[in-house]
Symmetry: C2
């Protein structure tokens, strides 16, 4: 490993032909200097590869220019894009991101919170594994909650707008002429299952339609997606073979609460001799492309725009650090992604 020599502020001052204090002012944007002097100093600093000492800078400014990213997720499927989006926005704002992953462990989370406070971070973004509301952390600096909102309405939270996502799906399915729609959720007690179901029922009702059969809940696995298809088709057992589905007696669409469920569902429908979407249209949720693109056929689904969610959380946090805190839950509009599971190959 080759190490460059450490360039000092006096080296920059010598090359620019100014005093070291002028270099400091020029690079920190403080004091009153002629623009030509600032340019000269910056060019000298650039040429020498001079990097100002951030800890010295932070001590004088009383800001660390560092933000904590506190994640309770261990798998990272949902929180990783949020963290990446936040990090991207922070870098743009010349802030650095201290990563702290708590992995569902409250003791570990407490330790991380204490460490971030000790580091004098300017603020903290808290992300979670699910959209379940969570208890706030208590720290003497601004906090924004992303994906998992705070239960305290005075806090600032950014979450995906699940109701809006389901509205987009219903509009799409009904627009394609689907009328007999069944619903397969994940875990019954989770907001992601419940909000999607409730919105689906309300949106169908607004169009004079009803959900076919009761909603089915299980877990978030492909296995459950496959078994749920058996349960949906089993409800049609009284119909003739040609009418089990795709006709008045059965369903012509199944709305799954995640891409994993929908992918398992597509596999099982095919194995039972049904064509997707000709006999039964299928929709997922998340646009987790490892699932949504590998599914046969690829899934029509909802992209929650998690990177944008993280970016928005960073914007809200930067505003709060600068004295303009937001309050309440902001819902980010998702995006409908249309693929062959509703449209077919044509």
């Amino acid at each position: 490993m080759e190490r460059g020599p450490v360039v000092r502020i006096t080296d920059v001052a010598a090359l620019a032909g100014v005093a070291p204090s002028t270099v400091s002012k020029a690079l920190n944007g403080t004091g009153s200097l002629r623009e030509s002097t600032r340019v000269k100093v910056r060019e000298a600093a650039e040429r020498l590869g001079f990097v100002p000492d951030a800890s010295a800078r932070s001590l004088s400014a009383r800001r660390s220019f560092t933000v904590g990213l506190l994640s309770t997720d261990s798998a990272g499927r949902f929180s990783l894009p949020v963290v990446l989006g936040a990090e991207n926005a922070l870098v743009g704002g010349e802030l650095s991101a201290l990563l702290a992953t708590a992995r569902h462990d409250p003791v570990r989370e407490q330790h991380h919170v204490r460490t971030l406070v000790a580091r004098r971070v300017d603020g903290i973004i808290v992300t979670g594994r699910t959209t379940e509301p969570r208890e706030p952390i208590r720290v003497p600096m601004p906090v924004v909650y992303a994906f998992a909102p705070s239960v305290d309405p005075d806090d600032a939270s950014v979450v995906p707008d699940d109701a809006d996502g389901m509205r987009l799906l219903v509009e799409h399915l009904v627009g394609l002429g689907r009328r007999r729609i069944a619903y397969v959720g994940g875990r019954a007690e989770q907001a992601a299952s419940v909000v999607r179901h409730d919105t689906l029922v309300a949106e169908l009702a607004a169009r004079g339609l009803e959900l076919v059969g009761p909603p089915l809940y299980g877990d978030w696995s492909e296995q459950w997606g496959r078994r749920a298809v058996d349960a949906v088709l089993g409800r049609d057992a009284g119909a003739g073979p040609g009418e089990r589905v795709g006709g008045a007696a059965g369903v012509d669409a199944i709305v799954f609460a995640s891409d994993q469920l929908a992918r398992g569902g597509c596999d099982r429908l095919r194995e039972r001799g049904l064509r997707v979407p000709d006999d039964v249209a299928v929709t997922g949720y998340d646009d987790w492309q490892v699932m949504s693109l590998a599914s046969r056929p690829p899934l029509t689904t909802v992209d929650m725009r998690l990177e944008r969610l993280g970016q928005r959380a960073a914007e809200l946090l930067i505003a709060a650090i600068e004295g303009e805190p937001a309050h309440g839950v902001e819902r980010l509009a998702p995006r409908l992604v249309v693929r062959a599971s509703t449209l077919g190959d044509g």
Copy 2:
């Protein structure tokens, strides 16, 4: 959001009945103090929830107690566990982790490297998306490369031992009596495809066996895994229907270079009426459980122990920061994970 009052060092000093400088010595472990004094100060600091100012501490110690985690991965499938493992080990060592994700963008990486240097991090862990060797970064502090090794043999790198992983698979398959083994790789030019192939051929040769047919290369998708099965079975077109596979004319095992490939392979074998593992045993690589557990049947595969890899990188970095740098590439032994795709349900 409730904010606690800021506790100052003078508050701790007052409660403990000592001078502020004694508090500083007691909490930083410097100077010579009676143990009873240290205990008294720590108890006072604990009771008040006092957190020392890390930037002040770093300025005096000339260490930031911060490590940079520079990742070039955008998807995070491989680098996320490495980052989590490293972060876990760093927290244990009372260090914080600054996250910097470059997303395959050299300009962004350069910006991140400059920022980490400006932050005076004590060291940097560099992770990558693949195991392809990469150019080193040039910084005036210790660096350890994890997953993607540095091309400079003087640098310290930790990588998964792919050859060892393949040896475990061959031992397992041959131990089960499989003799006619085909290989399906991902992208032909990548180390992960090539090392696994070369080791497979060498290990078979050591047992007097040969690979059935030439290796097949494509990409890393399930789609390619499915198409590759058609290609493998197509080579057996001359054999009778009952002998296409599972007999002397065909293959009795297919080694796939990833879980995604193997999962697609299992789907296609089943669709062509072949039983896994009765007719053809299948192995994957990675133990990416979203794939390896959802596969039908679940996959026998190799766990590269990526969290341990990150942890080891952190250990090497901490040693380097403390003046004991390592050099060269350290290979981490992987773990064989046996499931139904080779053993069956029994």
